[in-house]
Subunit: 130 residues, 6 copies
Amino acid sequence: MSKHLIEYADASARVRVVYDDIMRTRQVDQVNNFWKCLAAHPDTLERTWFSLKQIMAPGSLDPLTKELIYVAVSVTNNCSYCIGSHIAAARKAGMTDDMFGELQAVIGMANETNRLAVGYRVPLDDAFKE
Amino acid sequence: MSKHLIEYADASARVRVVYDDIMRTRQVDQVNNFWKCLAAHPDTLERTWFSLKQIMAPGSLDPLTKELIYVAVSVTNNCSYCIGSHIAAARKAGMTDDMFGELQAVIGMANETNRLAVGYRVPLDDAFKE
Amino acid sequence: MSKHLIEYADASARVRVVYDDIMRTRQVDQVNNFWKCLAAHPDTLERTWFSLKQIMAPGSLDPLTKELIYVAVSVTNNCSYCIGSHIAAARKAGMTDDMFGELQAVIGMANETNRLAVGYRVPLDDAFKE
Amino acid sequence: MSKHLIEYADASARVRVVYDDIMRTRQVDQVNNFWKCLAAHPDTLERTWFSLKQIMAPGSLDPLTKELIYVAVSVTNNCSYCIGSHIAAARKAGMTDDMFGELQAVIGMANETNRLAVGYRVPLDDAFKE
Amino acid sequence: MSKHLIEYADASARVRVVYDDIMRTRQVDQVNNFWKCLAAHPDTLERTWFSLKQIMAPGSLDPLTKELIYVAVSVTNNCSYCIGSHIAAARKAGMTDDMFGELQAVIGMANETNRLAVGYRVPLDDAFKE
Amino acid sequence: MSKHLIEYADASARVRVVYDDIMRTRQVDQVNNFWKCLAAHPDTLERTWFSLKQIMAPGSLDPLTKELIYVAVSVTNNCSYCIGSHIAAARKAGMTDDMFGELQAVIGMANETNRLAVGYRVPLDDAFKE
């Protein structure tokens, strides 16, 4: 499809190790285009995957909550690839239509009040200082 | 403190209705500086408060999750007032130190991969199209 | 105040030409810190001032409208210096308290609906295509 | 066209009330895709429309000025949907080609000087403090 | 292709002067769509071209380094046109595949640590103050 | 200074391993506040440091070029901590005053043309497509 996408069949042994770990971890039989692009620079592919794997694993926050946070950042940054892939991941992790609606409402409101706080140059309350 | 902060004692009846509703809803005896600044434009004060109250109420997403999303947007937008006030709100809603650490890790990672996806001009997978 | 601010007394002839034109154009007897910082790189000082002077001159849009647009961009980018200086310039050009309130309301709303349009991945209506 | 667009014929009574008010207020016989997407979450549809209607009504700032501000925010945030829809709205409100050219020039300049002020870490002049 | 693109054959004498200088400076026989759009507002076309020409000329920083910086800003702002055109310009100036990979890695990392510094509200070390 | 800064004396063995590696790699006898904050979440401290160390090491791009790119991203994101720390790092790596002036000029110009390209909705030239 794109000359920039490195398919499994064409990948080096080093890249395949990452692809295999992605497929095993996510229990899928294909890696997304994101990884096929990063494979052009194996250092970045390895570092990004192993970082993401560590960060998105269940911890104090559950996987769905982490995906919702990921979507919130991606929408605020206007990254259409990440919006598409992480909305899909959030749905897989259990996001319902109602949750999606509430997520977007919170993102929209936060973006509005962020600018109001900045535009009105609101001084930070003592209670919010660290 | 600031000539821009409208205190309860100096507020119009219309503004006091909002201040009273904020204090009753949040069970506090003071409104934050944010509201004291918005009070300069009562339309904005009313609309912002009643919108926020509706959006942040418990729904399909619980209040803690909503506050985490709020912090994620505010950090991405670099709004220091909202970071301070919503970290405080998230802690009040139950955010532990571990959750805070994981929240920041997801925010950081999402900001990184957002730019990698854009910089590598990754084409959207068919599976992520709507 | 800062070692980075180049005062008139210490400025080169080339920098003084720009300072003089700023003071004459704006009918003030001091240049702002912004120009005193840029003076460290005279190419940037000259280019920025003469560009700004051309762009902000009365044209199809009047000076107040241009300052309101400037504030809207600066708030969205969260640039505290430009918010401070252009709110001052807008007030000088005639911005009332009511106009300020409406300006912030539009900025906030635009930031909110920008994210809603992105988050909902709204397809562009044919009527809006060029 | 998209499974996500809720057409009038398929809309609930609650959604139709909003669609009717949009069409009556704007004197058009169709609502834009933006509203057809938000209709998936009626709380968001209602709140967004009635907020927008209040904010964009003629006030101390006229409708054209408000649309120019809207475009400035949308360009700075890089929201292609809102750029398309609000350039159309601005033209309808009287924006000429010259005004469009001046608008873009101010937006570009503001984005440039915002970064120069930040990169040079310019200290705020006392005169600009509140 | 687009009604907004002003081709050389249809351009005014004033616009042709700029087009000619672009083609001569870059030793190409066509100007990019960017300039063909800006030509709708000749003040903006002239100012933008002569500013860009001055800024991107070899100086203390070489042309390749300047193009890498340009790509870094464009990726962070998510401007697909500028990403496309400045990646092409960087390649022309000598950017190899390895350099591209390292460039993206630095951009990604900087975006991540920017948010971590903001989210953790890290106080500036005295050593970094001016 | 801040309850959030974890000093070496108070750090766990796991955190000290990272602090030691930072000091050895950079040949300094103190770690910056950034690391002292991240130390609250050792996973993030380790991952961020070892990622940064790998990315910023000399490669196809030299350390100074990497620092200039880092500053460009940090200015565009308006992260004052990272601007301060990476301007210092760039100076240490050889950035002169002239280079700093040219860096800021390129950052400013890129931010301006990014918005012009978006605001004029410039169609991507075929030559820039991948």
